[in-house]
Protein backbone atom coordinates (compact mmCIF):
# COMPACT_ATOMS: atom_id res chain seq x y z
CA UNK A 1 0.00 0.00 0.00
CA UNK A 2 1.37 3.42 -0.96
CA UNK A 3 1.26 5.98 1.83
CA UNK A 4 -0.42 9.28 1.18
CA UNK A 5 1.28 12.28 2.78
CA UNK A 6 -0.91 15.13 3.95
CA UNK A 7 -0.45 18.51 5.64
CA UNK A 8 -2.44 20.79 7.92
CA UNK A 9 -5.46 18.51 8.48
CA UNK A 10 -7.65 19.78 11.31
CA UNK A 11 -8.65 16.87 13.58
CA UNK A 12 -11.68 16.69 15.87
CA UNK A 13 -9.95 14.40 18.39
CA UNK A 14 -6.25 13.68 19.02
CA UNK A 15 -4.75 10.72 20.81
CA UNK A 16 -1.09 10.91 21.80
CA UNK A 17 0.57 7.48 22.03
CA UNK A 18 4.17 8.54 21.40
CA UNK A 19 6.56 5.98 23.01
CA UNK A 20 3.79 3.35 23.16
CA UNK A 21 4.43 0.16 21.23
CA UNK A 22 2.25 -2.40 19.40
CA UNK A 23 -0.67 -2.98 19.80
CA UNK A 24 -1.49 0.30 21.58
CA UNK A 25 -1.97 2.07 18.23
CA UNK A 26 -4.77 -0.34 17.30
CA UNK A 27 -6.39 -0.38 20.75
CA UNK A 28 -6.43 3.42 20.99
CA UNK A 29 -7.66 3.66 17.40
CA UNK A 30 -10.67 1.44 18.15
CA UNK A 31 -11.35 3.15 21.49
CA UNK A 32 -11.22 6.67 20.07
CA UNK A 33 -13.20 5.87 16.90
CA UNK A 34 -16.10 4.76 19.11
CA UNK A 35 -16.18 8.27 20.61
CA UNK A 36 -16.31 10.01 17.19
CA UNK A 37 -19.39 11.01 15.17
CA UNK A 38 -19.58 10.01 11.50
CA UNK A 39 -17.54 12.45 9.38
CA UNK A 40 -15.23 13.47 12.24
CA UNK A 41 -11.45 13.11 12.02
CA UNK A 42 -9.14 11.32 14.46
CA UNK A 43 -5.45 12.23 14.72
CA UNK A 44 -3.02 9.67 16.14
CA UNK A 45 0.43 10.81 17.28
CA UNK A 46 2.81 7.85 17.31
CA UNK A 47 6.47 7.01 16.83
CA UNK A 48 5.68 3.33 16.18
CA UNK A 49 6.62 2.53 12.57
CA UNK A 50 4.23 -0.44 12.41
CA UNK A 51 1.31 1.99 12.62
CA UNK A 52 2.06 3.16 9.05
CA UNK A 53 1.00 -0.25 7.79
CA UNK A 54 -1.54 -1.29 10.45
CA UNK A 55 -3.71 1.82 10.56
CA UNK A 56 -4.47 2.03 6.79
CA UNK A 57 -5.16 -1.72 6.80
CA UNK A 58 -7.53 -1.34 9.78
CA UNK A 59 -9.35 1.44 7.91
CA UNK A 60 -9.74 -0.74 4.83
CA UNK A 61 -11.05 -3.62 6.92
CA UNK A 62 -13.53 -1.53 8.88
CA UNK A 63 -14.68 0.72 6.05
CA UNK A 64 -13.26 3.95 7.48
CA UNK A 65 -11.21 6.44 5.47
CA UNK A 66 -7.47 6.73 5.98
CA UNK A 67 -6.71 10.34 5.03
CA UNK A 68 -2.93 10.11 5.23
CA UNK A 69 0.14 10.72 7.33
CA UNK A 70 2.16 13.80 8.25
CA UNK A 71 5.76 13.20 9.26
CA UNK A 72 7.03 15.51 11.97
CA UNK A 73 10.57 15.33 13.40
CA UNK A 74 9.98 12.85 16.21
CA UNK A 75 6.71 11.10 15.38
CA UNK A 76 4.00 10.54 12.79
CA UNK A 77 0.56 12.10 12.68
CA UNK A 78 -2.01 9.75 11.18
CA UNK A 79 -5.47 10.96 10.12
CA UNK A 80 -8.60 8.83 9.93
CA UNK A 81 -12.13 9.95 9.01
CA UNK A 82 -14.98 8.00 10.58
CA UNK A 83 -17.24 6.67 7.84
CA UNK A 84 -19.18 3.92 9.61
Amino acid sequence: MTLKFVERIKPDVTTDIVYMMCPMHLLKLEEKMKELEKGQILEILTDYDGALEDVPEWCQKTGNEFLGVEDSDEYYKLYIRKVR
Binding site: Y19, M20, M21, M24, L27, D73, E74
Partner: protein, 405 residues
Protein backbone atom coordinates in the same frame (compact mmCIF):
# COMPACT_ATOMS: atom_id res chain seq x y z
CA UNK B 1 9.33 -9.72 76.46
CA UNK B 2 7.51 -6.72 75.09
CA UNK B 3 7.73 -6.31 71.28
CA UNK B 4 7.72 -2.79 69.85
CA UNK B 5 7.95 -2.15 66.13
CA UNK B 6 9.49 1.30 65.57
CA UNK B 7 10.59 0.85 61.95
CA UNK B 8 7.56 1.88 59.90
CA UNK B 9 9.73 3.61 57.33
CA UNK B 10 11.21 0.19 56.47
CA UNK B 11 7.76 -1.29 56.04
CA UNK B 12 4.34 -1.41 57.70
CA UNK B 13 2.35 -4.41 58.86
CA UNK B 14 -0.49 -5.31 56.52
CA UNK B 15 -3.84 -3.88 57.65
CA UNK B 16 -6.23 -6.78 58.39
CA UNK B 17 -8.90 -5.25 56.13
CA UNK B 18 -6.33 -5.02 53.32
CA UNK B 19 -5.48 -8.69 53.78
CA UNK B 20 -9.20 -9.60 53.60
CA UNK B 21 -9.64 -7.58 50.41
CA UNK B 22 -6.65 -9.31 48.80
CA UNK B 23 -7.55 -12.90 49.71
CA UNK B 24 -10.11 -13.70 46.95
CA UNK B 25 -7.54 -12.68 44.31
CA UNK B 26 -5.12 -15.32 45.58
CA UNK B 27 -7.85 -17.96 45.53
CA UNK B 28 -10.97 -18.11 43.41
CA UNK B 29 -10.52 -14.81 41.54
CA UNK B 30 -7.18 -15.71 39.98
CA UNK B 31 -8.05 -14.65 36.43
CA UNK B 32 -5.76 -12.66 34.15
CA UNK B 33 -7.15 -9.12 33.83
CA UNK B 34 -6.66 -9.28 30.06
CA UNK B 35 -8.82 -12.41 29.66
CA UNK B 36 -12.13 -11.67 28.00
CA UNK B 37 -14.27 -14.05 30.07
CA UNK B 38 -15.85 -13.31 33.46
CA UNK B 39 -12.84 -14.16 35.64
CA UNK B 40 -10.67 -11.80 33.66
CA UNK B 41 -13.30 -9.10 33.75
CA UNK B 42 -13.59 -9.36 37.54
CA UNK B 43 -9.83 -8.98 37.92
CA UNK B 44 -9.88 -6.01 35.52
CA UNK B 45 -12.70 -4.37 37.49
CA UNK B 46 -10.78 -4.88 40.75
CA UNK B 47 -7.69 -3.22 39.29
CA UNK B 48 -9.65 -0.24 37.98
CA UNK B 49 -11.35 0.15 41.37
CA UNK B 50 -7.92 0.11 43.05
CA UNK B 51 -6.69 2.70 40.55
CA UNK B 52 -9.56 5.04 41.44
CA UNK B 53 -8.91 4.60 45.20
CA UNK B 54 -5.16 5.14 44.81
CA UNK B 55 -5.77 8.23 42.68
CA UNK B 56 -8.23 9.60 45.25
CA UNK B 57 -5.53 9.46 47.94
CA UNK B 58 -3.50 12.11 46.06
CA UNK B 59 -6.37 13.81 44.16
CA UNK B 60 -5.42 12.47 40.74
CA UNK B 61 -7.60 11.05 37.98
CA UNK B 62 -7.57 7.23 37.89
CA UNK B 63 -6.05 7.38 34.40
CA UNK B 64 -3.04 9.26 35.80
CA UNK B 65 -2.02 6.30 38.02
CA UNK B 66 0.36 3.65 36.65
CA UNK B 67 0.82 0.67 38.96
CA UNK B 68 4.38 -0.58 39.45
CA UNK B 69 6.00 -3.27 41.57
CA UNK B 70 7.47 -0.83 44.11
CA UNK B 71 8.40 2.75 44.94
CA UNK B 72 11.87 2.08 43.57
CA UNK B 73 10.42 1.04 40.21
CA UNK B 74 8.24 4.16 40.16
CA UNK B 75 11.33 6.32 40.83
CA UNK B 76 13.38 4.61 38.11
CA UNK B 77 10.45 4.86 35.70
CA UNK B 78 10.04 8.59 36.37
CA UNK B 79 13.70 9.48 35.97
CA UNK B 80 14.58 7.29 33.02
CA UNK B 81 11.18 7.63 31.33
CA UNK B 82 11.15 11.43 31.37
CA UNK B 83 14.86 11.88 30.63
CA UNK B 84 14.56 9.68 27.54
CA UNK B 85 11.29 11.26 26.42
CA UNK B 86 12.79 14.75 26.64
CA UNK B 87 16.35 14.18 25.51
CA UNK B 88 15.82 16.01 22.22
CA UNK B 89 15.12 19.17 24.26
CA UNK B 90 18.09 18.86 26.60
CA UNK B 91 20.20 16.41 28.55
CA UNK B 92 20.44 17.91 32.03
CA UNK B 93 18.59 16.77 35.14
CA UNK B 94 18.61 18.03 38.73
CA UNK B 95 18.21 15.85 41.83
CA UNK B 96 18.87 16.57 45.49
CA UNK B 97 21.33 14.81 47.75
CA UNK B 98 18.41 13.93 50.06
CA UNK B 99 17.16 11.33 47.58
CA UNK B 100 16.75 7.61 48.01
CA UNK B 101 19.18 5.33 46.16
CA UNK B 102 16.48 4.52 43.59
CA UNK B 103 16.70 8.15 42.46
CA UNK B 104 20.45 8.66 42.94
CA UNK B 105 21.43 5.45 41.19
CA UNK B 106 18.97 6.06 38.34
CA UNK B 107 20.56 9.52 37.97
CA UNK B 108 24.02 7.92 37.92
CA UNK B 109 22.83 5.55 35.20
CA UNK B 110 21.63 8.53 33.17
CA UNK B 111 24.98 10.23 33.72
CA UNK B 112 26.70 7.19 32.21
CA UNK B 113 24.24 7.42 29.31
CA UNK B 114 25.27 10.96 28.42
CA UNK B 115 23.10 13.15 30.65
CA UNK B 116 24.56 15.84 32.91
CA UNK B 117 23.26 15.63 36.49
CA UNK B 118 23.34 18.33 39.20
CA UNK B 119 23.18 16.96 42.75
CA UNK B 120 21.87 19.69 45.04
CA UNK B 121 22.94 19.78 48.69
CA UNK B 122 20.53 20.37 51.57
CA UNK B 123 20.91 22.62 54.60
CA UNK B 124 21.56 21.54 58.19
CA UNK B 125 17.92 20.48 58.60
CA UNK B 126 17.92 18.50 55.35
CA UNK B 127 15.91 21.14 53.50
CA UNK B 128 16.62 21.69 49.80
CA UNK B 129 16.72 25.40 48.98
CA UNK B 130 14.28 26.31 46.16
CA UNK B 131 16.61 29.15 45.12
CA UNK B 132 19.41 26.62 44.66
CA UNK B 133 17.09 24.62 42.39
CA UNK B 134 16.35 27.78 40.42
CA UNK B 135 20.07 28.56 40.16
CA UNK B 136 20.86 25.08 38.84
CA UNK B 137 18.38 25.23 35.93
CA UNK B 138 19.99 25.66 32.50
CA UNK B 139 18.43 25.75 29.04
CA UNK B 140 19.32 22.04 28.82
CA UNK B 141 17.38 21.06 31.98
CA UNK B 142 14.49 18.68 31.30
CA UNK B 143 13.75 17.16 34.71
CA UNK B 144 13.97 18.04 38.41
CA UNK B 145 13.40 15.41 41.11
CA UNK B 146 13.22 16.27 44.81
CA UNK B 147 11.98 13.89 47.50
CA UNK B 148 8.77 14.91 49.27
CA UNK B 149 9.87 13.71 52.70
CA UNK B 150 13.15 12.10 53.67
CA UNK B 151 12.83 8.58 55.05
CA UNK B 152 16.12 9.03 56.91
CA UNK B 153 15.60 12.33 58.71
CA UNK B 154 11.88 12.92 58.21
CA UNK B 155 12.27 16.42 56.78
CA UNK B 156 9.44 17.54 54.50
CA UNK B 157 10.79 19.43 51.49
CA UNK B 158 9.31 22.65 50.00
CA UNK B 159 7.99 20.68 47.05
CA UNK B 160 5.18 23.06 46.11
CA UNK B 161 7.64 25.94 45.76
CA UNK B 162 10.11 23.85 43.75
CA UNK B 163 7.30 22.57 41.51
CA UNK B 164 6.34 26.20 40.83
CA UNK B 165 9.92 27.04 39.81
CA UNK B 166 10.03 24.00 37.53
CA UNK B 167 6.77 25.00 35.88
CA UNK B 168 7.98 28.57 35.37
CA UNK B 169 11.00 27.18 33.50
CA UNK B 170 8.96 24.56 31.61
CA UNK B 171 10.89 21.74 33.29
CA UNK B 172 9.15 18.49 34.31
CA UNK B 173 9.03 17.96 38.10
CA UNK B 174 8.96 14.62 39.92
CA UNK B 175 8.71 13.98 43.64
CA UNK B 176 9.42 10.75 45.46
CA UNK B 177 6.58 10.61 47.99
CA UNK B 178 7.18 7.01 49.08
CA UNK B 179 7.71 7.97 52.74
CA UNK B 180 4.85 10.46 52.87
CA UNK B 181 2.02 9.20 50.64
CA UNK B 182 -0.71 7.70 52.81
CA UNK B 183 0.84 9.26 55.92
CA UNK B 184 0.20 12.96 55.33
CA UNK B 185 -2.33 14.62 53.01
CA UNK B 186 -1.08 15.01 49.43
CA UNK B 187 -2.78 16.72 46.52
CA UNK B 188 -0.93 16.53 43.21
CA UNK B 189 -2.98 19.32 41.65
CA UNK B 190 -2.44 21.73 44.52
CA UNK B 191 1.27 20.81 44.77
CA UNK B 192 1.70 21.26 41.02
CA UNK B 193 3.83 18.16 40.52
CA UNK B 194 4.03 16.34 37.18
CA UNK B 195 5.00 12.94 38.58
CA UNK B 196 4.86 11.35 42.03
CA UNK B 197 6.05 7.96 43.31
CA UNK B 198 4.36 6.00 46.08
CA UNK B 199 4.53 2.54 47.68
CA UNK B 200 1.66 0.58 49.26
CA UNK B 201 3.67 -0.99 52.09
CA UNK B 202 4.35 2.47 53.55
CA UNK B 203 0.66 2.82 54.43
CA UNK B 204 -0.35 -0.64 55.64
CA UNK B 205 -0.65 -2.10 52.14
CA UNK B 206 1.28 -5.04 50.73
CA UNK B 207 4.84 -5.14 49.43
CA UNK B 208 5.03 -5.61 45.66
CA UNK B 209 2.71 -2.72 44.79
CA UNK B 210 3.70 0.84 44.00
CA UNK B 211 2.41 3.55 41.72
CA UNK B 212 3.63 6.42 39.63
CA UNK B 213 1.33 9.39 39.13
CA UNK B 214 1.90 10.84 35.65
CA UNK B 215 0.07 14.06 34.88
CA UNK B 216 -2.34 13.71 31.97
CA UNK B 217 -0.73 14.61 28.66
CA UNK B 218 2.85 14.02 29.81
CA UNK B 219 4.84 11.67 27.58
CA UNK B 220 6.96 9.01 29.27
CA UNK B 221 9.09 6.23 27.80
CA UNK B 222 8.15 2.86 29.35
CA UNK B 223 10.67 1.07 31.54
CA UNK B 224 9.22 -2.34 30.65
CA UNK B 225 7.97 -3.15 27.16
CA UNK B 226 5.60 -5.97 26.36
CA UNK B 227 1.84 -6.12 26.51
CA UNK B 228 -0.88 -3.52 26.84
CA UNK B 229 -1.08 -3.50 30.65
CA UNK B 230 -1.26 -0.05 32.27
CA UNK B 231 -2.17 1.53 28.95
CA UNK B 232 0.97 0.17 27.28
CA UNK B 233 3.15 2.11 29.70
CA UNK B 234 4.12 -0.72 32.05
CA UNK B 235 3.96 -4.23 30.62
CA UNK B 236 3.63 -7.48 32.57
CA UNK B 237 0.67 -9.40 33.94
CA UNK B 238 -0.60 -7.38 36.87
CA UNK B 239 0.01 -8.40 40.49
CA UNK B 240 -3.74 -8.33 41.07
CA UNK B 241 -3.82 -9.15 44.83
CA UNK B 242 -1.14 -6.52 45.59
CA UNK B 243 -2.84 -3.87 43.46
CA UNK B 244 -6.18 -4.59 45.13
CA UNK B 245 -4.38 -4.31 48.48
CA UNK B 246 -2.88 -0.99 47.51
CA UNK B 247 -6.31 0.36 46.62
CA UNK B 248 -7.82 -0.80 49.92
CA UNK B 249 -4.85 0.59 51.89
CA UNK B 250 -5.23 3.93 50.10
CA UNK B 251 -8.94 4.03 50.93
CA UNK B 252 -8.25 3.33 54.63
CA UNK B 253 -5.33 5.79 54.76
CA UNK B 254 -7.51 8.55 53.36
CA UNK B 255 -10.36 7.84 55.78
CA UNK B 256 -8.18 7.43 58.88
CA UNK B 257 -5.37 9.88 58.13
CA UNK B 258 -6.26 12.63 60.60
CA UNK B 259 -6.57 10.20 63.52
CA UNK B 260 -3.43 8.28 62.66
CA UNK B 261 -1.40 11.49 62.29
CA UNK B 262 -2.53 12.93 65.60
CA UNK B 263 -1.76 9.66 67.37
CA UNK B 264 1.78 9.18 66.05
CA UNK B 265 2.67 12.85 66.37
CA UNK B 266 1.87 12.82 70.10
CA UNK B 267 3.98 9.70 70.61
CA UNK B 268 6.80 11.08 68.47
CA UNK B 269 6.99 14.33 70.45
CA UNK B 270 7.23 12.40 73.72
CA UNK B 271 9.90 10.15 72.23
CA UNK B 272 11.99 13.07 70.96
CA UNK B 273 11.76 14.92 74.27
CA UNK B 274 12.72 11.81 76.22
CA UNK B 275 15.64 10.72 74.02
CA UNK B 276 17.09 14.24 73.89
CA UNK B 277 17.28 14.05 77.68
CA UNK B 278 20.34 11.83 77.22
CA UNK B 279 23.62 13.74 76.92
CA UNK B 280 25.23 14.16 73.51
CA UNK B 281 22.27 12.91 71.54
CA UNK B 282 21.09 15.13 68.70
CA UNK B 283 17.94 15.28 66.64
CA UNK B 284 18.50 15.04 62.87
CA UNK B 285 16.21 16.62 60.33
CA UNK B 286 13.86 19.52 60.77
CA UNK B 287 12.53 19.99 64.35
CA UNK B 288 9.00 20.89 63.15
CA UNK B 289 8.68 20.32 59.39
CA UNK B 290 9.01 16.55 59.60
CA UNK B 291 6.90 13.42 59.11
CA UNK B 292 4.48 12.97 62.03
CA UNK B 293 5.78 9.56 63.13
CA UNK B 294 9.47 10.18 62.48
CA UNK B 295 12.15 10.66 65.15
CA UNK B 296 15.79 10.40 64.06
CA UNK B 297 18.93 11.01 66.07
CA UNK B 298 22.67 10.78 66.08
CA UNK B 299 24.17 9.43 69.27
CA UNK B 300 27.73 10.46 69.85
CA UNK B 301 30.58 7.96 70.48
CA UNK B 302 28.70 4.82 69.46
CA UNK B 303 27.57 3.13 66.26
CA UNK B 304 24.00 2.91 65.04
CA UNK B 305 24.23 -0.84 64.38
CA UNK B 306 25.22 -1.62 67.97
CA UNK B 307 22.24 0.37 69.28
CA UNK B 308 19.99 -1.38 66.78
CA UNK B 309 21.15 -4.82 67.93
CA UNK B 310 20.81 -4.08 71.65
CA UNK B 311 17.39 -2.51 71.15
CA UNK B 312 16.37 -5.61 69.16
CA UNK B 313 17.55 -7.80 72.05
CA UNK B 314 15.00 -5.90 74.17
CA UNK B 315 12.24 -6.45 71.58
CA UNK B 316 12.44 -2.99 69.98
CA UNK B 317 12.93 -2.84 66.23
CA UNK B 318 14.48 0.33 64.79
CA UNK B 319 16.67 1.42 61.86
CA UNK B 320 20.09 2.97 61.82
CA UNK B 321 19.64 5.04 58.67
CA UNK B 322 18.69 3.89 55.22
CA UNK B 323 18.55 0.12 54.79
CA UNK B 324 21.21 0.29 52.06
CA UNK B 325 23.67 2.27 54.20
CA UNK B 326 22.99 -0.02 57.16
CA UNK B 327 23.84 -3.14 55.21
CA UNK B 328 26.98 -1.60 53.75
CA UNK B 329 28.02 -0.26 57.17
CA UNK B 330 28.60 3.11 55.55
CA UNK B 331 27.89 6.55 56.95
CA UNK B 332 24.66 7.78 55.42
CA UNK B 333 25.26 10.04 52.37
CA UNK B 334 22.10 11.96 53.38
CA UNK B 335 23.52 12.80 56.83
CA UNK B 336 26.90 13.68 55.34
CA UNK B 337 25.24 15.99 52.81
CA UNK B 338 23.62 17.84 55.75
CA UNK B 339 27.08 18.62 57.10
CA UNK B 340 27.07 15.98 59.84
CA UNK B 341 30.62 14.61 60.31
CA UNK B 342 31.16 10.99 59.35
CA UNK B 343 32.03 9.92 62.93
CA UNK B 344 28.73 11.28 64.23
CA UNK B 345 26.72 10.02 61.24
CA UNK B 346 27.80 6.48 62.21
CA UNK B 347 25.75 6.85 65.38
CA UNK B 348 22.48 7.29 63.55
CA UNK B 349 19.28 5.75 64.88
CA UNK B 350 15.81 6.18 63.39
CA UNK B 351 12.49 5.50 65.14
CA UNK B 352 9.40 5.57 62.93
CA UNK B 353 6.06 5.12 64.62
CA UNK B 354 2.80 3.69 63.38
CA UNK B 355 -0.87 3.58 64.24
CA UNK B 356 -0.45 0.46 66.41
CA UNK B 357 2.25 1.90 68.69
CA UNK B 358 1.07 2.92 72.14
CA UNK B 359 2.13 5.21 74.96
CA UNK B 360 3.38 2.11 76.80
CA UNK B 361 5.73 1.40 73.88
CA UNK B 362 7.27 4.84 74.33
CA UNK B 363 7.52 4.33 78.13
CA UNK B 364 9.37 1.08 77.51
CA UNK B 365 11.71 2.68 74.99
CA UNK B 366 12.52 5.62 77.24
CA UNK B 367 13.22 3.23 80.09
CA UNK B 368 15.48 0.89 78.11
CA UNK B 369 17.26 3.14 75.60
CA UNK B 370 19.32 5.39 77.94
CA UNK B 371 20.96 2.41 79.73
CA UNK B 372 21.79 0.90 76.32
CA UNK B 373 23.54 4.13 75.29
CA UNK B 374 25.38 4.22 78.62
CA UNK B 375 26.51 0.61 78.31
CA UNK B 376 27.73 1.06 74.73
CA UNK B 377 29.62 4.22 75.63
CA UNK B 378 31.36 2.40 78.47
CA UNK B 379 32.83 -0.06 76.01
CA UNK B 380 33.29 2.37 73.11
CA UNK B 381 36.87 3.18 72.07
CA UNK B 382 35.57 6.54 70.79
CA UNK B 383 34.10 7.58 74.13
CA UNK B 384 37.36 8.16 75.99
CA UNK B 385 37.05 11.39 77.93
CA UNK B 386 33.56 12.13 76.59
CA UNK B 387 32.24 12.83 80.08
CA UNK B 388 34.70 15.68 80.45
CA UNK B 389 32.95 17.53 77.66
CA UNK B 390 29.94 19.67 78.16
CA UNK B 391 26.68 18.44 76.73
CA UNK B 392 26.24 19.98 73.29
CA UNK B 393 23.18 21.44 71.65
CA UNK B 394 20.27 19.02 71.81
CA UNK B 395 19.38 19.79 68.24
CA UNK B 396 22.49 18.88 66.31
CA UNK B 397 22.58 20.53 62.96
CA UNK B 398 25.92 21.55 61.50
CA UNK B 399 29.48 20.51 62.02
CA UNK B 400 30.26 23.91 63.52
CA UNK B 401 27.74 23.16 66.27
CA UNK B 402 29.21 19.74 66.96
CA UNK B 403 31.14 19.23 70.16
CA UNK B 404 34.85 19.47 69.31
CA UNK B 405 36.67 16.18 68.99
Amino acid sequence: MRKCYFDHVATNPLHPQVFEAMLPFFREEFGNPLSLYEMGMKAREAIENARALTGALINSKPSEIIFTSSGAEANNFALRGIALARQAEGKHIIVSRMEHHSILNAARFLEKSGFAVTYLPADKYGVVDPDAVKGAITKETVLISVVHASSEVGTIEPVREIAGIAKEHKVVFHTDAVASAGNIPLDVKEMGVDLMSMAAHQFYGPKGAGALYVREGLRIVPLIYGGIQEGGRRAGTENVPAIVGMGKAAELAKAEMAGRTEHVKKLRDRLIKGVLGVENVYLTGHPEGRLPGHASFTVEYIEGESMLLLLASKGMYVASGSACSSKALKASPVLLSMGIPSSLAQGSVVFTLGKDNSGEDIDYLLEEFPPIIKRLREISPFAKGWDEKEAGSKCYTTSSESPKK
